[in-house]
Structure formats: C-alpha cells, structure tokens
Symmetry: C2
Subunit: 644 residues, 2 copies
C-alpha cells in the first residue's frame, strides 16, 4: 500500500530523516509538481509500481550475478517491457518528453535493460558504425583492425545489423559512407550466417546486461535493397543517385541527427548523479560521527567539509535537470523541422547550435556525474564500498558516457570550432558575444559576501570568461598558424588551456544562464525561488572556482577579495542548503525499490536497512565449501610477528 | 625462455612499440638499475617468474569469476605463497624494503591476495577495531550499530580476532581502549563459537578475493591471558597496571605505529597508478587515429591533448616512487627506535612528523591514483571499458585506499594540526617555515618559458604557498574562535579552503623537494638527470596549477605571464617527454603475465593481443542458452521508428 495525497504524490516513508525534512524551507511536493507536472508524476509512478509488482524485476542489493545470467535477465525483462508497452505511439506524439522519462525510469532500475529495450524498439539514438570495404554489394572486413566492436545487442542476439561502409560503384568510384542492413544471424536458430563471424566482446566494467558484440565479414553478398537509401541510392544498373545536391547540407543533416545520442547521454549521466546524491545525502543525514560534546554524535551532514563535498553536486543536479529538459525540447523542435523537411537557414543554424551544445553538454554531464558519484562513494566511507549500496554500479554504468558517442575531450573541439566561427544562434547561447568588447572591459566589483551569493555574480563572470577564452583561442590559433604549422597541427596545439577551456566555459555558462532564467520566470512559484536561487548561485560559484586563475590572469579579478568572497559565499550557501538537502533529494529520488540501496532508503533507518540486507545475503554465516581443506592443512601463521 | 642481459634485466619483447623505444633519450635498464638495484631486480624477477610458472596462478584477462570462487582462489594461492616463503626472517632483517617489494609484486598480481597473505602472515599494518562494551572480560556488542564491519579474513575463515574494547575493571573504572584476542570460530570446523555471530559482509566494489567480515558478541567470556598487555594489564585480582606513566606518551607511540598502514597505502596506490599508466601509455603509442594526411594515421600519443592527459601522471609515478621509498625508510628508522625503546625527544618528534606526513601522503597517493586510473581508462576509450584490459579492476581495487585507515579528508586535519603547532622536524619537511616571513615577501620572477621548466620554479612557489596557507589558516582559526565558536566548531569551519589546502600543499611540496634533491644528488647518474629533471618539473608545475588562484590572491603571481609561462612549460615538457614515455613505462611495468592487460602488453601488438583474448573468452561465438526462447516468441521491433 502506497499512501497517496490528493495531488497524486505518495508520501515518503517516515523515520530518522524526518528531522531534516521538518527543517526544509520549502515543500518537496510543490517542487516536484513544479519540475515534473502531474502527468509525468503519474506516469513515473505507474512505471515504477509496475516494475515493483512484477517478480521478474525482483532483486537483492549487491547480488553477485554472473555476466551470462545478467544477459539472460536483461533479455527476459526486456521482453516483459514490450508487453507493458509503457509509451504508445500516441503518447509520444502528444508528449515526446515521455520517451526520455521512460528511459530515466528504466535507467534508474538498470541502464543495460534500458539500452537493450530502446535498441530493440528501434528508436535508439545510438548508431552502429563499421568501417568496411564494400564494393558491388559484397562486404568484407579488410582485417581484424577493421572489425568494429561495441555494437549493442550484437554479442548474442542481433539478427540484422546496420553497417556503415564506403560505397564503391562498379566504375570504381567511391561515394562515401552509406548504411546497409546486413543479416548476421539466422532468426530461427541464432546461428551466424555464412561468411559472418559475429560474437561477444566479453565482460565490460558495467552495463553487463547488454551484450555488445563484434562482426567480421568475409565476402558476404547483400541484396541491393538493403542499402538504406535516405541519402543516396544505387540503380539496378550500378549508377549512384542522391537527393542531396550539396554534400555540406547532407553533412549538416547528419550532424543534427547525430546529436540525439549526446543529448540523451547528458540526461542519462544526470540520472546517475541523482541516484548517487540521493544515497550520499540520506546517508550523511543519518550517519553520526563525533560532535562538540563527548556524549553526543552529530550527523556528518552537519560538518562543513561534508556539505562542501556533496551539496555542490546536489546543486548541479538541479541545474542540469532544467538544462537537459529544455535542451531535449530544443532537440525535439529540431527533429520536427527535419520531419517537416524545413530547409530554412534557421533550421540549419539550429542543427549546428545543437551539435555544438551537445558536444559540450555530454562532457559536462558525464564528467560531473563521474566525479560526483566518486565523491558520493568516498563520502559514504566503507559503506560506499559495499556493492549493495549501489554507488559502484552507478559509477561503472555511468563510465561509458565519458567516451562513447565521441570521447569527451575530442568532442569539445566541435564546440570550440563552432564558437570560433561565430555563426547565428537561434537558441541565443552565444548572442552575448556580440558585446564581447564591452564585456571584456568589465571587472569583478562585488562588495560583500552577501552580494556574491547572487546568481548574477557567477553569470557575469562566465560571460567575461567565455569572451576572454574566445579571444585567447583565436590568438593562439593565429600564432600557431603564423609559426608555419598546418591547420591540423595548429588546431591540435590550441586545445589544451585554450579551445578546450573555452568549450567548457561556454556550456557551463549556458547551463547557468538557463537556470537563472528559470528562477526569473513568472511561472516559477514564489515559494521555491529562494531555494532555487541558492542552488543556482552555488552551482555557478562552484564551477567558477575551476577558472579563477584565468579570471585573475585576464584582469577580471584583482586583489584578495574575489577569492575570499567566492569561497565564503560557497560555504555560506552550503550551510543554508544543508537543512533543505534531504527534501531536495526527496524530489529527485525514485522509490526505494528502484534505488536499491540500503543506506539510501527513504526512511533513513540506516543500520536496520543495512543489517537486514547483509543478513539476507548469500551464505552470510555459512562456512566456505573448502572449509575442510582450510582446517586440515593450515600454514604456520604469525611467523614473522616476533621480529617486527 | 626469458632472454636476460648480463646485468640480469630481461629484454622487453619487441614489436611496434620499438619505434618509440628507439627514440628514448636514456637507457631504461640504467634507470631501472638506478631505481631498484640488482638485488631487488633479481628478487622481483624471482617472484614474478615463480607465479607465472605455477598453474594455480594462471588466469585469463577479464574472466567473470563469482565472488565465492574468487575467495577460494585467493585462499589456495595464499596457501601456495606460504610454501614459496619468498621473504625469510633473515631477508627482512637484512633488507626491510623487500617486504614492501613483495607486497608490490603480489598487489600487481592481485591486491586481495596480497592483503590475505600479509594478514595471515601477521605482519599487516592494518588494524582491527571493534567498539564494544567489555567488562570483567565478558564481551558484548551493545547493538548492531556497534558491530564492526570490514575485518579482513573475518568473513569466512578467521578463527581468532583482535578486538579493541573499552576495558572496565570490577571497580567500575574505565581504562580506555585495550586489545584482546577473542576466538570467533572453532579451528577444527570453522563454525562460529557460542555467543559469536560472525559472517561475511558481502560483495565489495573490488578486492573480492578477500573476505571481509563482521562480528557480534553476546556475553562471550574470554580468558584474562587474552588481553594484549603491551600498554596495560589486569592482575588476577582485578587491578589495572600500565608500564606507561604518561598517557600522552602512550598515545604518541600509538600514533607512530598507526602510521604504518598509511605509509603502506601510499605505496600501494602508487603501484596501481604504475599499472594503469603502463596500459594507457602503451595503448596510446600503438593506437592510431587520424593524422595531418588523409592516408596516414598517427599514434594518439602524438596528440598534445593525449600527452597532457597522461604524461603528468607518469611524472607523478616517478615523483611518488622516490617519495614512497624514502618515506618507507624513514618509517623503518622510526620502528627501529621503537624496538630499541628509544625514549629520546627526537624519536617522539619523528613519530609525530611521520604521522603528519602519512596523514597527507595517503590522500595524495590514493587520490592521484584514483584520478590517474580514471584518466587512463578514458584515454583508452572503449578498450578501457573492457574488463579484460584491467583498468576497471585497478580502479576498484585502489578505491578503498581513499577511505580506509582514515578518510582522506579527515586525515588531512591531522597534518594541518601538526603544521599549525610548528614543532620540531627531524625529517626537515617544515624547516623552511623558519623563514616564513622572508618567503612571503617573494614573488614569481621567472622571465621565460625555458626558465619556468626548471624544477626550482614550482618548488619555490610551493614554499611560498605553504607559508601563505599556514598564515591564512591561523588567521581563519583565530577569527572563528574570536567570533565565539568553541574549538570543535572553529576547527571544522577552517578546513575547506584553509587547513585542508595547507595539508595538501605541504605534502606536494615534500614530494617535490625530495624528487628535486634526488636529481641534485651526486649518486644520480648524469645520463638520467635530464629526463628525471623534466619529470620533476612537470610534476611540480602540474600540481601547482591547482593552486594558481591562491598564488594570485596572495600576490605571488601578478599579470598575465605566470599562467602563460606555466601552461606553456607544461605542454613543452609533455612534448619533450612523449618520446621517452614508452621507455619510462618499461622501467615500471611488470611482465605481461602480471600486468594481464592485452592492450598493455610489452610488444605493443595491440590488435593481435586484443583479438586473441577476445577469442579465448567464454562462449564468444556461441548462442546463448536461452536462444530457443528468444527465437520462438520475439517482440515486434521497430514499431516506433516510422514515426520518429
């Protein structure tokens, strides 16, 4: 039985965490309703409750499950998801955001299940790329190096694969990369097709429910109809025809479409961070250690150091929550344009801006999650090192977000290339660059810590920072080229400390600007503005601390005060937010069943939850199977102790 | 067959990595001989070859082994290690360093095996602490919260446990923490003793060969003789007697002894970083992507960005290699003093200085390894995400180094407490503070990038930084106390940005100073000074970049030049070191069998090694056992594609 209030939000199980809940400055249900809305809240509850009610989805925290069994479980659960059919065609048309929310929900349960489901559903943003030599529709991998790893579902079960290959027509001409459907397994037997070697890459650091595979082709003949002819086709007599006159436009369309994966990953990384922060904040609010008096221990959340370790990541969750949501909506707008065959300049500019944003938001999101999960794991001490508390799984499952769909560091180059070109900006993320010269004249003129706690302070600093780094990057590129380097080397030598920093500062500014705008928005309930403002200021000041040396170098900062003010403002904001932290986490937390972490449970009965999980483990109190061997032939112990 | 040269160092298997080896500016064998010496080189080879020759130690990269089987394997291998008896009593007495080297070697193979072995050997620096109510030698845990987790070997096999408990004599007086030996299992059956509940904590993020356990006692009576009476004893008639008159001295002796664990962990973290850097550098030197010309791809190590991501961690390996070695020797000196019952002031001061150093070196080492392994994993892209390449295991096994034997952040307080007291420094790590006032007058006066590449530049900056942060910390503490806070709160509010930064800067300075002194040393071969100097400068400048805002804030830096020079110097040093990187890694790498990472193999046959490992995996090309179910009842796929 789940008690539900009239607005449809179930109450949180009560317990020791209530001490903090009572101190909160806002209503977590109001915040949830503001952020999600009734429809999404009801949808998420439906998904969560359906999974919780189905024994196939039952699990024990920290279970040790072999990879093969993980694959089987993911397969069975995936099949079940198709039966549940949580999002129908009509649902998606009415509210495209539901697709992302479903992915959030499945990912909170298990990312490899979510990935497997969406790959099978055929709407995955993830693409399969095999570098192959293809001529006359006979496909061969030149050697092992050309076999592509990592294709999702290909390890065990995929029967067909989309293959990107260079297309050569009989006249010997190469028409560039095209996509083909190649049958890799017999759907009746799951055995590989003749000429195809298809297999499983083996264990990964995480997401082992998903079977990633490789494929190697040896003279496999495929029917002409299997060319996916959206961008080009070959006639029966071997001629190449393409609807795109301008190869640049074709490239532009691809750029936009390829952004989907990165938009999605930014969101997925955020979901991981939400779960980790939930676990660590609830743990910190119930775990007591030491105190000003000998006989009373205080929750570790009361320590400034613990606040400083965790609360900036909680602020990042709220900043990225709004950013990923609004960014997904931008992407939907772009996709609608594609469907409508919108050939306007704005549509093309939108594609490039979204490409630039996604190439930086994926690094920002995945790294923030990576560092945040690690900090949460360490902040939970030994409990964080127990598999049952899930922080390890979150870290392992988040990890590929840093490298797939483009390595983070490499992607950032795409963003800086866009900024250096300074083209149109339908989403207004770079409009302020028009005032570059006047912005660069500005200085940090904050007169007090109180003033520094205004989100406008880091926002103004970021505007200066992006302008400064843009100027520095241009100068650096020019200098490298002037010294005789080619374009390739000049760009490579301008990444570290220049273009890379520029791209990061740009996306941090964008996230901050959007969060700032949200708080200013009339629709935002007055009762929530204060706590949202603190989160915004904390996020902005905290990310800004990574750039303070540059702010000094370029003269925006001078003297002692800027660093003093910013540091004090961060710690003051942490102190103000610590009593809101548990309520802020209640807003983002899934039900206990989904979170699956004893120390992160909503009631905060830390030790009860931990002990019952330990005791329910496998063979907890049992002797090992090899006990007799241990007892019969023991090595002499302690032989060296006397000497040391 | 291992080809061995006349000085006893086997040659490295040749292959594609030879391209870089030929470019190296120094002889890797000379470097190895300088760092390790003939005796240790031979000893390590003996250990490595013995393990490689024993089928019990055979393994496949990336194998998926259940936790229970990991425990059994570790047990069997541990037993075998007792037979091999690599280090005899005489060996340890002649060369105490051999014990650390044996731990290095076993850890390179598998940390949980190393831990299990040394715990059984009875010379582990790791301690067991149970908070219990103990009176009249009847021992009871008050509740679940008081049960202590994490005791190594206790999960499955330990028969006796050392328990720390408050000692109450019959007169009701408490004599503080004392240690007792309590029998927890019957050695003949491995079943728990009456009144003892002892069990396994379950799966951890890593080191699962080691069975960590918990114990709860219910009125367990233990013999009086089981009190470990080094610091106090109870007579048969129930009176308490202690050889220590001064409780402070007793505490001081404990402080020193407890440092052993942290000294060891600093070294263990370094070993993890060595392995990760070896994998990532060898991968980067053989993995080719893109290039200035269309038809030729260049090794990713040629990219400045990749150099900047990896080479500072390679420099950290060399800096920490020398630091951990010299610090272990300091600790041996301290231990000899303890054995000799040295009651001098110097011995007491040495204990406190080692305590302060170890409380900062453990955080520095474990965090550097944590971040370095993560960077290596990302720098290897998808290959780094494959379990077989071992970067995940290294990260998981290194992870507890950040939190056990004291949480890193909490430990740093111990170091800053020492610095704020400014007492004697037998190891001379704080002697320069005597010149604090004149050091604080200094400025950064470097005139060129070339000058900036001198290790003396970051060293001088660190001296100023430690002095500045010490002054700031004192001021902050004074300010907090003046505002009416008690000692507990005042200290807590002075950690972030003050005492914590101070402790980190202090240990970074110490590591850098020792590395700098090594290069200046007459014994250091002239042919190695150039490359060691570059590593030292790179390490110093790179760690210094974390503190540049403070250097500006305090006025040590001003204007544009300092940051420009330092950034350019770092990138220039990376460029100079990239041709030495493979040889530098050859010095620190264990044999392929121990490293157990296809992409990190010494011959650099990247794809051959990777593919043969993939193909040797379990069920690579086989259908899943549930294939029939998959084929018979497939969900409809692609149902949504048409709409999106």
């Amino acid at each position: 039985f789940n008690p539900t209030t009239q607005n449809g939000i179930p109450d949180i199980p009560s317990g020791p965490l209530d001490i903090y809940r009572k101190k909160a400055s806002f209503s977590w249900k109001q915040m949830l309703q503001f952020l999600e809305g009734d429809e999404i809240i009801a949808f998420k509850q439906h998904v969560f409750r359906t999974l919780e009610s189905d024994p196939l989805f039952a699990r024990q925290p920290g279970e040790d499950i072999p990879v093969e069994q993980k694959r089987e479980l993911a397969f069975r659960r995936c099949k079940q998801l198709f039966k549940y059919d949580f999002v129908t065609r009509d649902d998606v048309m009415q509210n495209p955001w539901k697709m992302t929310i479903l992915n959030d929900c499945l990912g909170m349960y298990d990312w490899s299940l979510g990935a497997k489901y969406f790959l099978n559903k055929g709407v995955s943003p993830f693409h399969i790329l095999l570098m192959l030599c293809l001529s006359e529709f006979v496909i061969s991998s030149p050697d092992f190096e050309a076999a592509k790893f990592w294709v999702g579902n290909l390890g065990k079960t995929a029967t067909h694969s989309v293959v990107f290959a260079q297309l050569y027509t009989p006249d010997g001409q190469c028409h560039g990369l095209h996509s083909f459907i190649v049958q890799v397994r017999d759907p009746k037997t799951l055995l590989a097709m003749p000429g195809v070697m298809v297999g499983d890459m083996g264990k990964k650091l995480g997401q082992n429910g998903l079977d990633n595979g490789f494929a190697i082709f040896h003279n496999v003949r495929i029917p002409r109809e299997n060319l996916l002819n959206k961008t080009g086709d070959v006639t029966p007599d071997g001629r190449y025809v393409s609807p795109f006159k301008d190869p640049n436009k074709r490239f532009g369309a691809s750029l936009g479409a390829l952004s989907g994966g990165r938009v999605g990953i930014t969101r997925m990384a955020l979901v991981n961070l939400k779960l980790a922060v939930t676990v660590a904040v609830r743990f910190s609010a119930t775990r007591r250690q030491f105190g000003p008096k000998e006989d009373e221990e205080i929750p570790v959340l009361e320590y400034q150091l613990q606040q400083w370790r965790l609360l900036p990541f909680l602020a990042a969750v709220y900043a990225l929550e709004h950013f990923t949501r609004s960014f997904c909506m931008n992407f939907v707008e772009f996709q609608i344009g594609l469907l409508m065959k919108d050939k306007s300049d704005r549509q093309a500019e939108l594609g490039r801006e979204i490409h630039a944003m996604s190439c930086a938001s994926k690094p920002l999101g995945s790294w923030t999650a990576q560092r945040g999960i690690q900090e949460c794991r360490e902040a939970c001490g030994g409990h964080g090192y127990l598999a049952m508390n899930r922080l390890g799984e979150l870290r392992d499952d988040n990890d590929p977000n840093c490298t797939y769909e483009g390595d983070n560091n490499v992607l950032l180059q795409q963003t800086s290339n866009y900024l250096l070109r300074r083209i149109e900006s339908p989403l207004e993320t770079v409009n302020f660059l028009e005032d570059m010269n006047s912005i660069l004249q500005r200085k940090f003129t904050v007169g007090s810590v109180e003033e520094c706690m205004n989100p406008g302070v880091p926002l103004a600093a970021y505007k200066w920072l992006v302008c400064f780094l843009l100027g520095e990057s241009q100068r650096k590129l020019f200098h490298e080229k002037s010294s005789g380097l080619g374009d390739f080397e000049a760009r490579n030598n301008s990444q570290v400390y220049y273009c890379r920093s520029l791209a990061i500062a740009y996306i941090e500014h964008t996230v901050l600007q959007r969060f700032h705008d949200l708080i200013q928005d009339e629709q935002t309930p007055a009762a929530l503005r204060s706590v949202l403002g603190r989160l915004c200021a904390l996020y902005g000041l905290w990310t800004l601390t990574n750039h303070m040396a540059i702010l000094y170098q370029g003269g925006y900062f001078s003297g002692r005060q800027p660093v003093d003010f910013i540091h004090t403002a961060i710690l003051t904001l942490c102190g103000q937010l610590k009593d809101d932290a548990v309520a802020l986490v209640d807003v983002i937390a899934p039900p206990d069943f989904i979170l699956n972490s004893p120390i992160g449970k909503a009631d905060g009965e830390l030790y009860k939850n931990l002990w019952s999980t330990v005791m329910q483990g496998k063979n907890v109190l049992e002797r090992p199977s090899w006990w007799a061997e241990f007892c019969s032939d023991k090595p002499a112990v302690g032989s060296l102790r006397a000497k040391l």
